[in-house]
Amino acid sequence: MTETRPSAGRLNVDVSPGRTAAALVAGWLVPGAGHAVLGRVWRAAIFFVLVMGSFGLGLAHDGRLALYSPKESFLTGLQLVANFGVGPADVVARMDVYGEAAYNLPDPSAASYRPRIEKFRERQRSAVSAYGTAYLWSAGLMNLLLLMDIWDIAKRRKD
């Protein structure tokens, strides 16, 4: 890392490919951390609060933790991307809700089908589930946008 000119609350650093990769990984693991790795600490803190706040609101309002279904592969696939964008927090949420890191809807003949689909439907029946889903998926999509922002900053396309 070569530090050049500190300015306006952040460090102006040259970004090596290794640091870029580290920022991308950190940014996916912990929303905002990628910006911190690149020296944008205040922005990182704001993004962390926004993304994790939205994620927390989503969970608190019974947002949909999507399950992949081959019958609706396109839509459920997109939903999974929105959920998974937020990083490992999604795995932790699934373990809390489904009792395991569940990402697909099993075959109806499987023993795990009934408890999983019932938990899924129970959350869907909640009066605030639609709000929760909006918060939850927005959190994941915001974090994916942050990864693109990290890339742009590393490539010096953005400040």
Partner: protein, 57 residues
């Protein structure tokens, strides 16, 4: 929280703040952009709701 309006205000606030910080660098510009996006989202929804008044379910 079950209030539609509270969710409208909160969700618009989160999204507006996110895009203001993401796309603008100057603090003043960020606040201006945040206000515009928030007003666009919250105001747009209220306007749409008003226009839908003559068409109840």
């Amino acid at each position: 929280m079950r209030s539609h309006v509270a969710h409208l205000v909160l969700y618009s606030g989160i999204i507006a703040t996110f895009f203001a910080v993401l796309t603008r660098r100057d603090r003043r510009e960020q606040l201006r952009f945040l206000g515009l996006v928030w007003l666009g989202m919250a105001g747009g929804v209220l306007l749409l709701a008003y226009l839908m008044l003559p068409f109840p379910r």
